[in-house]
């Protein structure tokens, strides 16, 4: 089994602030890998660098054998991603969102139609596929995003807090698909979450990051054993401490608030 992701001595500084501080880790092909950490620990920053949308300050990354800073196209072709925040076009229908994705990723017409129908069915949205996405609930949007991320048959699936804000049924549903996918098609899954029970249940391997540094790495069983804790949540707290983290609101968050004020709340 080769390595699907390999990160060596990765650093990202924003001015004086060090978001990611000399981290190294490897994700073998075909595993489900949990990247855990408190708010503001550097999880999303790391995912952005792995997925070519943010340049690292220093360090070396290989995703599916390619460098995201230089071989962007090859890297982009090899992964699918579900972002922490929604990334669908609300003014298009579910089908149109999928179709647009398929065209951007160069999926040929006949295959595109077949796969879109199959995936929309797979996430249980077949009867709503011609509705505008703005009419969807949060859980439905998430499921559509998972379906979309799989459309071009990626080797790696990045999931940045895929189940945040979802009810237990939907969470269970989504993890069900992902585990099945990993088993059936050997897709490598790299996910972040705050829900330690989820990580405990689905992850083969986890890394814990705090203040931009990796504080522990191993299987959930190993981490529990090392910290002498009965579950991963306690192990997590033992490793990262009790202090509550503050995350600075970024420009996007501020804008979302303005947007809400502007559009008078709405359904977004």
């Amino acid at each position: 089994m080769g390595e699907m992701i390999s990160v060596h001595d990765l650093v990202k500084n924003y001015g004086q602030f060090c978001a990611v501080n000399h981290i190294s880790f490897k994700v073998p092909e075909g595993v489900i890998f949990g990247f855990l950490g408190p708010n503001g620990a550097g999880k999303t920053t790391t995912i952005k660098m792995l997925t070519t949308v943010l340049d690292p300050t220093s360090g070396k990354i290989l995703v599916n054998g390619h460098d995201p800073t230089r071989e962007q196209k090859q890297v982009r072709r090899s992964f699918g991603i579900v972002f922490q925040d929604p990334s669908l076009d609300d003014e298009l229908t579910a089908y149109e969102n999928m179709d647009l994705h398929g065209i951007l990723y160069g999926v040929p017409h006949g295959e595109r139609k077949k796969r879109i129908d199959m995936l929309i069915e797979f996430v249980g949205l077949a009867d709503r596929k011609n509705n505008l996405v703005k009419e969807y609930s949060g859980g439905m949007k998430r499921r559509l995003e998972v379906a979309r991320a799989l459309l071009h048959k990626p080797r790696i699936l990045f999931l940045d807090e895929p189940t945040i804000g979802l009810d237990p049924q939907t969470r269970n549903h989504i993890w069900g698909y992902i585990q099945q996918l990993s088993k059936d098609e050997g897709v490598t899954v790299f996910f972040t979450t705050h829900y330690m029970d989820e990580a405990d249940r689905v992850a083969y391997d986890v890394a814990m990051i705090d203040h931009g540094k990796i504080v522990a790495q191993g299987t959930p069983g190993e981490l529990k054993e090392r910290t002498q804790c009965p579950n991963l949540e306690d192990a997590f707290i033992a490793l990262t401490g009790h202090a509550i983290r503050e995350e600075e609101a970024n420009a996007t968050d501020r804008m979302r608030m303005m947007g809400r004020a502007w559009r008078g709340g709405g359904r977004r």
Binding site: K48, Q74, F79, D90, L100, M258, G259
Partner: protein, 248 residues
């Protein structure tokens, strides 16, 4: 190429699906057309300028295009906010294709809006003379659309949030509109303003459009066409450059 096409189609679909936006953005040009067009009509005729509505209409059409095209670029900020921008940035498509698809889509929307205003002007009494040049009107409308979609893209790519927005309106779009010869002729203006008009790319777009509708070009057809084409090329380049620098 397919990426350019689908991103263009996306913007056209969004435009057609938002009748509120279509009608809403007609308000301002209609207001200017009615208030200025009928307000100054008699005075303009008395001063020997001819029919003011014929003079003003190309300016109002350009105005509608200017606003819509710049806004289309600024939609990058909305897409950043509502997340869709990420979807395009992780796609295995060159940044040039993405930005070009966006600019072309935005330009087509702005042009569609310009055509609607054109029709409204005709209803209000605007008369086109010398139909031989009429196809040129479409060319100029398209070029103005692309040019300002390029400018909008620069701002949409550089600004992180909507807070810079009023600045763009007050210090960029409004001056470009007022000092383009859209509402008054450049002849007889103070020297400084004349130079300002000469430096404004919209001046040539307005003059080209006006010439295409009246057969009288103040700067000359060749100059208008050359300036607008070159500026469009330059701004598409600058817009693409800034867009390609976007990081999340």
């Amino acid at each position: 190429m397919k990426a350019i096409y689908i991103l263009c189609v996306r913007q056209l679909k969004r435009y057609i699906r938002s009748p509120a936006r279509i009608i809403g953005s007609l308000g301002q040009p209609i207001l200017f057309l009615v208030a200025l067009g009928f307000g100054f009509k008699a005075m303009f005729a008395r001063a020997g300028g001819g029919d003011y509505l014929d003079f003003l209409s190309p300016g109002i059409i350009s105005m509608a295009i200017l606003f819509n095209a710049v806004f289309s670029g600024i939609e990058i900020i909305w897409d950043r906010q509502f997340g869709f921008l990420k979807e395009t940035l992780v796609a295995p498509v060159s940044r040039i294709e993405i930005v070009f698809g966006r600019m072309l889509g935005g330009a087509l929307v702005a042009m569609a809006q310009g055509i609607v205003v054109f029709v409204i002007c005709l209803i209000a009494g605007f008369r086109v003379h010398g139909s031989a040049y009429a196809p040129l009107a479409i060319v100029f409308m398209f070029m103005i659309s692309l040019l300002f979609a390029g400018i909008g893209t620069v701002f949409g790519s550089v600004l992180q949030d909507m807070q810079g927005f009023p600045l763009i309106i007050n210090f960029l779009i409004m001056p470009i509109f007022f000092f383009s010869g859209a509402i008054f002729p450049s002849a007889g203006l103070p020297k400084v303003l004349q130079i300002g008009l000469r430096l404004n790319p919209l001046s040539y777009g307005v003059d080209g459009l006006r010439g295409a509708c009246s057969t009288v070009f103040a700067y000359g057809l060749t100059t208008d066409l050359a300036v607008v084409t070159i500026m469009t090329g330059i701004l598409l380049g600058i817009g693409s450059y800034f867009f390609s620098k976007i990081q999340l």
